[in-house]
């Protein structure tokens, strides 16, 4: 990032929220603020069956990036190399955002795993001219690769910038490394957009298995690659329509908040306020 005007003096952005353990003990909602429900002129989506959601605990996340690697492996995300990453064209569907705060000469770091937030009112969905990105009945923003013509309008309009475009033809036939590809996930060609799917192949697999056994999908049956590989178990995935699921419980937690909720995009991913293991001086983080 160019150093010039990295931020406006005095401006803070409500992206990561944090508190200290002493404040948290006094008030579990410390560091958090209620986010009000906005009005929309459009009718809301109705989710009769499942509605998938996620909760990420910023307090548990150590920034180890195991989720990033497992997502890359699970979803056949192209590895584009140093030069392309230098051109800011990394393809990761899940990234770890880092924010820094200066605390009396010391530096505080916050890690925030950021993936497609599977918005209820998704800005990406309305702008696609060819309907290549659609809202599923289970609340997912589905990207239809073979329908995409690659206008990149969806990525421009994504407030979280989690969409990734295939700038070149990354995958080729006849490579030995193709043996490492996940057969359950489509390999994308150049010119199409892609992004986090909440590991929809795992969702489908779990649903089929449950159906075969004549039962409902149980909480915990589905674990996206990121949640599965997180050593701190900071990522919880589940059905928010099921009031008993862990993710539903976490959404009611006083630490739960959603990033950029003020845009009324209704993200399906929530974050838990980071609780620092110190006793005093709960200063809000400055972004970096």
């Amino acid at each position: 990032m160019p150093a010039r005007l990295a931020s406006v003096p005095g401006e803070t952005r409500d992206i990561v929220r944090e508190t200290t353990i002493s404040e948290h003990r006094k008030d579990p909602s410390s560091g958090n603020e209620p986010q009000r429900k906005h009005q929309s002129v459009w009718p809301e989506h109705v989710y009769e069956g499942h509605r998938w959601g996620m909760a990420v605990d910023l307090g548990a996340c150590t920034g180890c990036s195991a989720c990033v690697v497992s997502c890359q492996a699970e979803n056949n995300v192209p590895v584009v190399g140093k030069d392309e990453v230098g051109r800011k064209r990394d393809m990761s569907w899940l990234r770890i955002d880092r924010y820094y705060a200066d605390r009396d000469g010391d530096t505080d770091v916050v890690f925030q795993p950021m993936m497609c937030q599977q918005c209820g009112n998704a800005p990406c969905e309305t702008v696609c001219p060819v309907l290549a990105t659609m809202h599923s009945t289970e609340g997912l923003n589905q990207q239809i690769y073979n329908r995409c013509v690659g206008t990149r309008y969806c990525a421009n309009n994504c407030p979280y910038k989690t969409r990734r475009f295939n700038w070149f033809q990354y995958q080729e036939e006849g490579r030995l490394s193709n043996l490492a590809l996940n057969p359950d996930v489509t390999v994308r060609m150049r010119g199409v957009m892609e992004k986090c799917t909440f590991c929809i192949q795992r969702i489908q697999e779990a649903k089929f298995e449950a159906k075969g056994q004549g039962r409902a999908v149980r909480d915990g049956d589905i674990r996206p690659a990121c949640a599965q590989s997180c050593p701190a178990q900071a990522i919880v995935f589940g059905d928010v329509n099921d009031p008993k699921s862990r993710v539903s419980q976490l959404r009611k937690d006083p630490r739960h908040y959603r990033v950029l909720a003020e845009l009324n995009v209704e993200p399906s991913v929530g974050y838990m306020v980071k609780v620092r293991g110190r006793t005093a001086g709960a200063g809000g983080p400055e972004h970096g």
Binding site: M1, P2, R4, L5, A6, S7, V8, E11, R13, I15, E84, R87, K88, R89, D90, R95, D97, R98, Y99, Q112, M114, P123, T126, V127, C128, P129, V130, L131, R147, C148, V149, G150, T151, R152, Y153, A155, N156, N157, P159, Y160, K161, R163, R164, F165, N166, W167, F168, Q169, M189, R190, G191, V192, M193, V259, L260, L263, V265, H287, G288
Partner: protein
């Protein structure tokens, strides 16, 4: 008032026969060495651009400088720039026609041609910027065999498709209808059989009878009425690409009038640029007079003030909204890493045209020409600033990046200029650059002496 009504727009005491002879001369005498030189240069530049386009098509959008955060930059900047250039044609031909502005007759033909060519250049970019341009036809809603797949009428890009294709078709028809009497004139003067046949075919059996003229005038008036809303609609809809998004700096209700004003601004400047060159190269100073230049300068000054007001309003509203993201975008435009682009825009578009307050400045043709070029540069930067500075630093600072074009993008942009000038030179070579029949219409008061009422 009587004097004002009889303002002489065509100098040199032309007769109708003289007008025909003057306008047809460049077409009938064949191209000059200057024309060949200009044509060779334009085609060469176009070919360089064509190579860059071919490379983009064969390799991918990765050949451009775009990245995960900045998904549009040169491509859409160029698109909006060319669409804007294309605006003056319909403004001059339709709106000024309805307002009975007589001076338009000298410039409307070339301005309409410019519109068509500019829209063609604009059309390259939305096609080329697609990741898979071979599926570009998927944006057209036609009955197809691909199951239930259809287009999204909620997408502003689809509105663009309709707005621009409609604009192109109406502009082309309007231009062609206006050409018919002149094509018949060339047909009647043709010395070779081939020429007579070709122009005979395209003049659609024009006889020049009073009945034909009466029908023609009605058709022209109706088309002018039909084309008028398009002057406003096209750039309004182009602005919706940005205004309907959520990105700070794009999501602005001021965009439709702001874009229309900007389009007229850049279109008028381009008309001036081309007319000043064309009139000296083709010896048409008696038709495109200093007074024409003067009125166009005054329009440019007026629109420049509107554009300046839009810049100021945008900035004020960003502050007044209290929205930190919105505020940041505007502070970032003025002081961030791309501040140079913002200040280029302001100095070209708001400060430079202020010289046109002075009649003496408007009379200096060299200066007016230079200013028209400066304004076109400024208007390109306006679109660049809107698109790139809004995208490159939006909500989450983790995704903030910079953007720089690659040589491929620059070559593609240059190539679009090559295409534009190639087409414009062909137009000047094969078609009457001035609407002869219309110019003859405004000669009348002069022919009958100065005392008559009109």
């Amino acid at each position: 008032m009587a004097e004002a009504l009889q303002e002489v727009w065509i100098r040199g005491g032309k007769t109708a026969a003289r007008v025909t002879a003057d306008v047809c001369a460049p077409i009938e005498r064949g191209p000059t060495a200057l024309w060949y030189g200009a044509f060779a240069a334009s085609v060469s530049v176009f070919l360089v651009g064509a190579c860059a386009m071919a490379y983009t098509l064969s390799t991918g959008i990765g050949t451009w400088g775009l990245n995960r955060t900045v998904g549009w930059a040169f491509d859409i900047t160029n698109f909006v720039f060319w669409i804007g250039i294309g605006h003056a044609g319909t403004l001059i031909s339709a709106i000024l026609f309805l307002f009975r502005q007589k001076w338009r007759t000298s410039v409307n033909r070339a301005a309409e041609a410019m519109t068509l060519f500019a829209v063609m250049c604009a059309g390259i970019f939305p096609l080329l910027h697609m990741g898979r341009p071979w599926f570009a036809y998927w944006v057209l809603p036609y009955p197809n065999t691909r199951g239930s797949l259809w287009v999204s009428f909620a997408s502003p890009l689809l509105w663009d498709v309709f707005a621009i294709s409609t604009y192109f078709v109406i502009s082309a028809v309007f231009w062609y209808i206006g050409l018919i009497p002149d094509l018949a004139t060339i047909r009647d003067r043709a010395k070779s059989e081939t020429r007579r046949r070709i122009f005979g075919f395209f003049s659609l059996g024009w006889t020049g009878s009073a009945r034909v003229w009466s029908h023609y005038e009605k058709a022209y008036l109706l088309l002018a009425g039909l084309a008028t809303p398009l002057v406003v609609s096209v750039h309004t809809i182009v602005s919706f690409d940005f205004a309907t998004s959520v990105i700070p700096g794009w999501h602005a209700t001021i965009f439709p009038p702001y874009f229309v004003a900007g389009a007229i601004f850049s279109g008028m400047s381009m008309v001036l640029t081309l007319m000043i060159v064309a009139r000296s190269v083709m010896g048409l100073e008696d038709y495109i007079t200093d007074r024409h230049v003067d009125v166009m300068c005054r329009i440019i000054l007026a629109v420049s003030c509107m554009v300046g007001l839009a810049y100021a309003s945008e900035f004020f509203i960003a502050w007044y909204s209290g929205n930190p993201y919105e505020r940041f975008v505007f502070v970032n435009r003025q002081m961030g890493p791309m501040a140079w682009a913002y200040w280029t825009m302001v100095s070209c578009n708001v400060i430079t045209p202020q010289i046109f307050w002075f009649k003496s400045m408007r009379a200096k043709i060299g200066l007016v020409f230079a200013a028209s070029l400066v304004i076109n540069v400024g208007m390109w930067f306006e679109r660049f600033v809107i698109i790139v500075t809004s995208l490159h630093r939006d909500f989450l600072p983790s995704s903030w990046v910079s953007y720089a074009p690659t040589s491929i993008e620059v070559a593609t942009f240059a190539g679009s200029f090559g295409l534009f000038f190639t087409l414009f030179l062909l137009f000047c070579r094969f078609l009457p650059a001035i609407a002869m029949a219309e110019v003859k219409g405004i000669l009348q008061p002069d022919l009958h002496g100065h005392g008559g009422a009109s």
